[in-house]
Amino acid sequence: MIEITNLSKTFTLHNQGGVVIPVMQGANLSVARGQCVALTGASGAGKSTLMRMIYGNYLAASGSILVDGVDVTKAEPREILQLRRETLGYVSQFLRVVPRVATIDVVAEPLLAVGVDGDAARARARDLLSRLRIPERLWSLSPTSFSGGEQQRVNIARGFAHEYPAMLLDEPTASLDAANRETVLTLIEEAKARGAAIVGIFHDEAARDRVCDREIDVSVYTPQAA
């Protein structure tokens, strides 16, 4: 489902004397349906960078990233958008939404985007929000005013609303209480069970051991500073 071959990444800082920083070289990764792969490595090793490249958020310098047959490194913006809409979900650590939109609609939006009708989408959103223990009285409010932990759970609900065949999870269990952590892990297991290919970053080792089939240490792809 996700096939990464010989991927490298550099940052060029034009406004700081044109410094070129190589951050990744020769990365390879393959994730099949129903598999969950954890990215490991110290802070700054490039875990998030790799996730972002898979999502098309960062440009690759060379190599290829095939997601469901689409090479993200070469695809047109609209192809990547279609991929993100239908195939590739991403739960980031931060919630980014239009102010003023109700939580329930924030969560339902990915479903509306793939053509699910409004009632069905909101039903699914309600189900996820209650599983993640967001009090019902908050559903009609914008999540921009929520606490950090609530925002993260809204973000997870949104990420799991549509059943993406491939998912990227960036610290999905960080700063969650035990009950919500359990819910998220269950959601991940459900996703795997229906055949989703998952790439995740988990600092929570117990969580990693429970849901991940393999670990990839990203630091082996970090170029040695010259």
Binding site: F11, T12, L13, H14, N15, R52, G56, N57, Y58, L59, P77, R78, I80, L81, R96, V98, P99, R100, V101, L112, A113
Partner: protein, 256 residues
């Protein structure tokens, strides 16, 4: 899927100065493209060339017309182009007063495009106008008020209703949230996002506000001194900018 709009090598010069040059891109149905750059970067010149308000000195603007397929709007006859701009195109101005008739009621403003394409039943026109006022969150009771009695945000929403009533397929927007309070901006952005999705609109949005494009635009085009310096997926361009100017632009945004 064929593009709705195919822009090829557009250039516009003001005497010896470059307005914009070598601009090419394809816009697909349902896509929203943002054009960012500082004042004088050529983004408004480009938008005006695309929307038929300015005649480019070079290049083609091919639009997928309903009856004749791809057609160059630069060389098509003026009546045809003006017909497009009343039906399949919409243009949302930065200043609502440039896009509204200030001495005509809200209902008349929304109804004008319908009447322009031949609607001759008062009751139907009024019903549609009221329906559209509702969709842009303007109360029905304001249908006979003039835009001069509206707040800035309401005027802008009225302008959007007036533009979308004929079900256009391509919307040009020039700084649609410029000059509005941030709270009003957020409401407008939310509204625009909803309409874009519901109606499957394609849109080209010119702005210097990076937050606006992040929320509204699928793709981004960065302009400087009349040239396109970078294009790509909006979040990719903003999070991993490749060109020196884009990096400067992104790093110059004030954090709140």
């Amino acid at each position: 899927m064929t593009p709705l709009l195919k822009v090829q090598n557009i250039a516009k010069f003001y005497g010896g100065r470059i307005g914009c040059t070598d601009v090419s891109f394809d816009l697909y149905p349902g896509e929203v493209m943002g054009i960012v750059g500082e004042s004088g970067s050529g983004k408004s010149t480009l938008l005006n060339c695309l929307a038929g308000h300015l005649a480019p000195d070079r290049g083609e603007v091919l639009f997928e017309t309903r009856s004749e397929g791809m057609k160059d709007t630069v060389t098509m006859s003026e009546p045809e182009r003006r017909m497009l701009s009343r039906t399949d195109w919409a243009f949302v101005h930065q200043h609502a007063r440039d896009g509204l008739r200030m001495n005509v009621s809200a209902g008349g403003n929304v109804g004008e495009r319908l009447m322009a394409v031949g609607a001759r039943h008062y009751g139907d026109i009024r019903d549609q106008a009221i329906d559209w006022l509702g969709r842009v969150e303007i109360n029905e009771s304001r249908v006979d008020d003039r835009p001069t009695q509206f707040s800035g945000g309401m005027q802008q929403r009225l302008q959007i209703a007036r533009n979308l009533v004929t079900g256009p397929r391509l919307v040009f927007m020039d700084e649609p949230t410029g000059g509005l309070d941030v709270s009003v901006q957020a409401r407008l952005l939310d509204l625009l996002r909803g309409l874009v999705r519901e109606m499957g609109l394609s849109a080209i949005i010119v702005t210097h506000d990076l937050a606006v494009v992040r929320l509204l635009a699928d793709r981004l085009m960065v302009m400087k001194d009349g040239h396109v310096v970078e294009t790509g997926l909006t979040d990719q361009v903003l999070d991993d900018p490749q060109h020196a100017y884009t990096q400067l632009l992104v790093s110059s945004v004030l954090q709140v």
